[in-house]
Symmetry: C3
Subunit: 200 residues, 3 copies
Amino acid sequence: MTTPIYIMTLVGVVAFAVSGVIEARRKQMDLVGISAAAFLTAFGGGTVRDILLGRYPIFWVTEQSYVAFVLVIAVVAFFVSRRMTLTPDAIAIPDAIGLGVFSATGTQIAADLNVPVLIAIVMGVITGSVGGVLRDVVCNEIPAIFARTQLYATCAALGAIVYLASRAIGADTQTGLIAGSVATIALRLAAIRLNLRLPA
Amino acid sequence: MTTPIYIMTLVGVVAFAVSGVIEARRKQMDLVGISAAAFLTAFGGGTVRDILLGRYPIFWVTEQSYVAFVLVIAVVAFFVSRRMTLTPDAIAIPDAIGLGVFSATGTQIAADLNVPVLIAIVMGVITGSVGGVLRDVVCNEIPAIFARTQLYATCAALGAIVYLASRAIGADTQTGLIAGSVATIALRLAAIRLNLRLPA
Amino acid sequence: MTTPIYIMTLVGVVAFAVSGVIEARRKQMDLVGISAAAFLTAFGGGTVRDILLGRYPIFWVTEQSYVAFVLVIAVVAFFVSRRMTLTPDAIAIPDAIGLGVFSATGTQIAADLNVPVLIAIVMGVITGSVGGVLRDVVCNEIPAIFARTQLYATCAALGAIVYLASRAIGADTQTGLIAGSVATIALRLAAIRLNLRLPA
């Protein structure tokens, strides 16, 4: 893995792990439950993407540092969060960062394998949103993607399209990844702030 | 993929996507939720089968047309269904068609890889029923397979056995697939009509 | 598969299948639901491990005897259990045995593929606990791992570490597997008896 990709993935892993820890803590889980929630949120989307693409080894299986980061976050958060009151909004920012970074990197990884363009977008959406779905399932929340939340998968799809469009007009991988991530994060946070939802 | 297999798979994909759309619509999901439900129902069973068999690329990853069909169905259904009242029975027929076609094609794909006969039947049941299980989970219904519904997995197993028996007595693949599909669909619709259930 | 590994895996498969059957029976499932619960509990953990490690063929796909054992257990249990009253505690012992055996064998399989040591432990925990999580999900119980039960994943992690430590000090595979399994089973049963839980 090149250094910029390693770092972007790490940002996504850490952001989603933090969101998992916050949600698990709100549900009074013990250290094992918190670790499992952090693990599922941080690794769920990328793992499903790698399995669907037959891309082995799966990104965290040979990269022990990712697993170590998630466990350290879970342990630290377990003790720190005892003194904090966590509102339901506390996960909004780490969740948006994880969604943005993983939608962009998931699209890039699929596109680099030369899958059709529609499949690359689907892979971006899966990579970005599956972690949050798993977090919500194990924490007994209705997953955002099925709950008419504020544009969850829509933001992921936008990031995927922005990445592919950036590359199509000549941007390099890194610029495309940043553009895609920022687009997703900005739309998601704006949607929460303005309470934008798709019609039912 | 040969043309008859492509077409049978397409029939199963469309039927299950329709069943997913109907159920998601009944639960007031937005366009993203409907698309996700359609996607999971249409691709869930075959994806799990391909992963379990290590059969790459997974059937829809290189076949963009399947994904496009599912998305078009979701969008069209989203707008059309606003003017319809959907009863809980509305999914019976598309669900039975998806169950039948995928049980037969799943068995055929596994058998062609020379797995033991019991494994081929299990793969047929998984291919036929996992999509409906995922649909029911995301739509907050108890999955048919665990709910003592009218012979759900039993129908899938019958279709798998009919396919294998047809081939054993000399039928070609296409004939076997049609025989297996029809057996499953007929038993499932009869079981619903006659309210047949296994004893508990 | 060598004979000792085949037998240990069989012990885990049978123990977890029994635990799935008991739980499904308590929920009044029919024969299909019971079989599906037995199948998911017995094969869930090892299947996820094999998929994550890209280890094909998946352990039960070419080993028809495991599938046959699980189906026979489901059928026998279905008829036998009609005359039994099953308490919620009835699964404690088969569940502990499955957890112990699969945590140890899962760790061994991962370690033999030379993954980093932390990943080997994670694979042991996944192999040991995913079956029980799936059983609890389909039977509408909160999975032990998220429910502050008596040290579920903690026991799996202990077994993984005991296996790796045994090997590090020169024990052979079989001795390590037995030591790891026994450590997990003993801690789990002691934790249930003494009602030990991690703090929240």
